[in-house]
Symmetry: D2
Subunit: 430 residues, 4 copies
């Protein structure tokens, strides 16, 4: 089958300037309804409530991952590296483009609430009765299986997996740059061109020429900064908490037999835990936001309050805690009940464990799902794990820090503050 | 009333780096539900289907207009210009922030279909029973009226109106930069700092120091380029056509008594022409997209086809026409009917008149709604309309050009192409 | 002869990010003493006295022109355009790199004073007993002649000439971007990537795909802006005037038999009009500035005053004139003499004719040295001169404007102002 | 004395966009011959031989330091911080502008060779019979002394010293951004605006609001990267070695009574160790380069070879050494002599001690000349040294690494390689 487009297609992209499509298969994949659906799912979930520019979609990120992969492979081909299996080009490009196609609305929050797994949905989309699957099968009847194998990190040639999923992969490179661009936080920038120039295929892995060590340091520092400035921003966490509480409440109500005034079938299936692929593909952030708008008028006070808060950005206030302070927290819960607040909804503690922090992991156990470390290739053709050579990376790699925050609706708590214990008032800075 | 915040609030903004809020009134306005609603309305309507980065909201643009206004006034104050009425600062800032608060989803398209007028809605929000109105009244019971007067361009001090609405106003400066940033089209950039530095309040107007003429030329060239590269992009026009057709069809069906499976009250009111302010405020792009998702399964083939097309970006193909060619178009309509296509839905002609093209208008009739021209102030304190001095601007000012395009669903027409006349096939490049 | 480097060399460049060298010949040319000498010659002559960042050298510009040429050819090769003669790649790259190698210190000013011609010196360097010539001869004994032919615009294949020298050539594209970058004037930027993408070799010319028209408009607007903001800046003109006066005075003195305390042989040869190639290659801006430092202590008052002014940036003041006003100027000269100022040195009039203004020339006479116009290639494979299609370019093309300025040493004139006629005082704004 | 300019002056600056001058004193200082002389001294010495864009002058850096200081003070004034002594504004601005005015050509190299000290020259310029001194005395007869005290870090109010000289001072902030901009190495960028926003005057020091910790981390990482990518680049070190060898050789010759064909008085005074202030001010990089051009034709082979190399960028090759290897180095010296190379000139070892590496020093002994640490101010108004709070900074602070390189003229050594010992050939990778 002829897979080259007569003339290459170009998408204007603010991050990479242009995204070039040369393969007919890629062009067709982009035009499937499953891929277009990613336009209605934000890359950064609720972060737009913290950074108003962060409205960018998973559609644009997926194109970006594809484009970086395309550039890496093109560099490998231009330099004629024999360790790169040329016949895997289209597979790598398809897997890059599709690796996030299974994401649903506000994925990270909803996955936690409902036990969903976007990687599994991605594989269902690739293998199931979808437009994506039909396009992939045009290449070869076994091609969908191969794409899914790459996405599941089980493909027989690890070098293809490592393009799409490693600690220096096209996915991470794109999202750091893209999230930095759209939030306006310029900590996240690093020299992509330079990194692309120092990547080498080598013995089944993608490694970094030693002269590129400082560029990788810079990339990892960008990750570190983006974690603290953007991904773990307490205002974003606060929005996530609202979102999870809304769905927790809606589930409770659903299972208690509550009759919703508004409940489109995909949402009903979500709450009942019976989502089919077809229904999942209809769930998007527009539908979730529309539901919140309707639910803000439901009879259940908790649900309507939470939905109104989310839409109008009346977030819970947050106060850092010094440690876990389990005992005090139990105590606060009681105080909350005493003054008439809901101990499960009107407060929430955010622990560092909820935000797995992996700027860089120097070692991964052989069979773990962790991503393999970054390797430097020196002039003597020897490999070394990068944190052995870089003091900076060694220091980041060792880090495991996180802050505890307590969140609560300030305007509900404040009028009742004089009924709280002095300790609680002090800790909540009231 | 104390209106200064204890500590200034800062929004991270990709275009201006930071947006600074120092007034309590501004802070409260931003937090009203009417203003937060702008997060769910895109600045560029359907342009995201052409430029995938263009997901930015009217919320971010409104903050940007506010910030530019703040900077202009701050420059005036720093230099102690006596022509600037200092007591109008808060009014100017509020009007800047709120000037677009009445926009609805996909405004430009929907306003055409339903005869809505966002400026009128803005005034209703400012003057009606809203959170915005409540905040404004805290300043002064007449303050909402003054804000509305500025927005309606009737305020007694024209200099305040001209800050918010002129051919070189904070609105245009922000949207050019912002739209360029998010689309990734770098034609739209110009030196904002330099323009801000050469603005002067002078005899009730805001004028430009003559030394800034080239900076204004550059700004107007950005406008010119953005018109052709972004605002009039035929792919965006094609998406707009689908959108208008969807609402045209939905209206027809509604008025014909069709029973929709999905029709939330604000949409019903939109179709029936009975929107209240409360309903209008519930209309957002999430609701429109959700409706399209549901309507793509309605029994009416036309409606369901159009909605599916919009969501999955299966746009009509376009072909430029040499002129209007009314006669031929009548003829095509007959051919369309003959081969079983809908002459009102399966083709559409886009004429330049639909896209009013006003990069710059050197003269405005005294009572017209047109915006006043840009004036240069020379060292002898004399004013001159800018196109008198600048050859470039004179040449742009004279321009009135536009292309005719015909749009049609290629995949429906192509299989029937041999039943079309040779002339039609030639003109449609089939 | 093997001409590929084992591993490509990369120069870090602020404008293009990286400059890639893959050919051994290019690498060797860069390392010749004649090419390294360009490090000591500024790209923008005296502009650094107006824009302090503009210290960039002709070395960096020459690398940039090479890099753009390399990118254009690489695009042609990637797309397999048959109109591009592949065997001319190395020739094109060498000519691009070397096209400015004959520039001397403050070329534009000194060429005027001494009747030098940098293109002629370039050809002497390419063809004479130089390191450059030796490297070129390694390719082929006739190769230097071919390089010189391209530079003289006489090469048999016009497409090669047009890469290096046309109204949309690698030279202009690099210097606009580079001068904008180093001056900090952001008017000069345009979308290089987009322009590179729409260039096509076609029937012995390099033409522009019609869809690139707006990108070319933007490029020409950048030229227009850079002319007015940078290249014709009156402060730069004022510095140029000082420079030319210094060399005019030094020549006068030399020919009058004046004994200089400091006069290195290349400078002596310059003044006497007997420069050999070897001496010319020793002239650089360091030597000129050192001479000025020494000459600021010469016994001749005029010379020492002018040199001190140049080094310490005590420039002549400028006042715009409404027209030529020849009569009045004759009159001022007499007044100058009357009050004891030098009519040839203590005033100078800068006329637009001195600054040939060619943002774009739509037509060139067949045998003229003017550069050929920019041609658009439409989808029907027809060519059209661009100003026929673009209103903007038509308006720029017609422009021929310029300001008359009079320059004079304000601190010498002011104390004598009451002895000047009222008309003169008014015109000089004294 | 009136010190405000009637209208502020603006310098176009690529790094800060604009530099604003509002004080007449600052304007006059910029126009002194001593300050204008900084245009002829590069900010980065020989780095332009590694990064061709790095031609920027100390003039532009000095303006940048002034501008950052102006912005910091303006922020302090705008927020009305009482810990900032408002009366010290002009002093701070003058000291910022002038802090580098005593730099000579290729300072770091020449200072090492001749025991010069730019800070001492700066104070002589401020206090001596100069234009700078005359302008400063117009403010107040004691003003020059106060400026000198700030520059010597002895001024009675430490907060003024710390603006100009600390580990987070205007000097470092400007040079990191500027050097990054002109080299094109984008590792050196950090968010200046954000850092300026979090600085606070507090108890006689300038401290950082705790919320700015990550911005400071980013700034220090930029320093770290710029050290390794730019300041310690081995090619730059190689150029420095040539420069120092040239002056070492010239000194030897001078003291041995050699008669130079070319030796302008300031150079003679430099070699003889008898520089007066007047002579020092005549030394600039133009004169040094001109001397090298002339010396490349001197009869002394070593001197002429070294000068030709420097001008034509024929640098010594470098090879990293694993450690100091003193013994082997003694051995190589003998081998060098044996094969006829000069053991003091045809090889050089660069040790890390020559490049004092101080990205950040958390503690400084009370009386040392080291710069005080960076302090964070938390919400409880408590101060903490930043490395206590930041893991990243703690890890950088502990670093003291450096590479040993050996440099030698490859094209002289290679033809004689078979006469070297196998060990030497291996270590030199020959």
């Amino acid at each position: 089958m002829l897979t080259k487009l007569h003339e290459e297609k170009v998408f204007k992209d603010p991050v990479h300037n242009s995204v070039y499509v040369q393969d007919l298969t890629i062009w067709k994949l982009i035009n499937t309804s499953e891929f277009q659906r990613l336009r209605r799912i934000r890359q950064l979930g609720t972060s737009y409530l913290t950074f108003h520019g962060a409205e960018h979609s998973r559609f644009s990120h997926s194109l970006g991952v594809y484009e970086i992969t395309r550039k890496i492979i093109s560099q490998f081909e231009r330099n004629g590296y024999v360790d790169w299996p040329q016949e895997e080009k289209l597979l790598s490009l398809c897997a890059s483009l599709l690796h996030d196609v299974g994401h649903g609305p506000f994925s990270h929050s909803l996955e936690q609430n409902f036990g969903l797994d976007h990687e599994q949905w991605t594989c269902e989309i690739v293998l199931g009765a979808t437009e994506v699957n039909r396009v992939l099968r045009e290449v070869d009847s076994l091609f969908p299986e191969r794409v899914a194998a790459v996405i599941r990190k089980k493909y027989e040639k690890p070098i293809v997996v490592s393009l799409v999923s490693s600690q220096l992969d096209a996915d991470r490179m794109d999202y750091l740059l893209r999230d930095a661009y759209f939030t306006g936080v310029n900590y996240g920038t690093f020299d992509l061109d330079r990194i692309l120039r120092v990547l080498r295929p080598y013995q089944g892995k993608i490694v970094v020429k030693e002269s590129g060590m400082h560029a990788v340091e810079d990339y990892l520092m960008s990750r570190y900064q983006m974690y603290w400035q953007v991904y773990f921003h307490p205002v974003t966490r606060s929005s996530d908490i609202l979102l999870r509480q809304i769905f927790r409440r809606a589930s409770e109500l659903y299972h208690a037999g509550y009759k919703f005034d508004f409940l489109l079938p995909p949402l009903r299936a979500l709450l009942s835990g019976s989502l089919t692929l077809g229904q999942y593909l209809k769930l998007d952030e527009a539908m979730v936001q529309t539901a919140f708008g309707q639910w803000s008028e439901e009879r259940d006070d908790l649900l309507s309050d939470l939905c109104g808060r989310f839409l109008n950005r009346q977030l819970y206030k947050y106060v850092p805690l010094v440690g876990e302070e389990r005992e005090w927290l139990d105590h606060v819960r009681q105080e909350w009940e005493r003054i008439g607040l809901h101990p499960d909804y009107h407060m929430e503690v955010d622990t560092p464990e909820d935000s797995p922090y992996d700027v860089y992991q120097p070692g991964a156990l052989p069979d773990s799902k962790e991503k393999p470390p970054i390797l430097l290739l020196d002039e003597q053709e020897e490999l070394a794990e990068i944190s052995v050579r870089s003091d900076i990376i060694r220091s980041i790699a060792g880090l495991h820090r996180g802050k505890y925050y307590i969140y609560y609706p300030a305007e509900k708590v404040l009028p009742l503050a004089d009924r709280l214990s002095p300790e609680t008032r002090k800790k909540l800075s009231i």
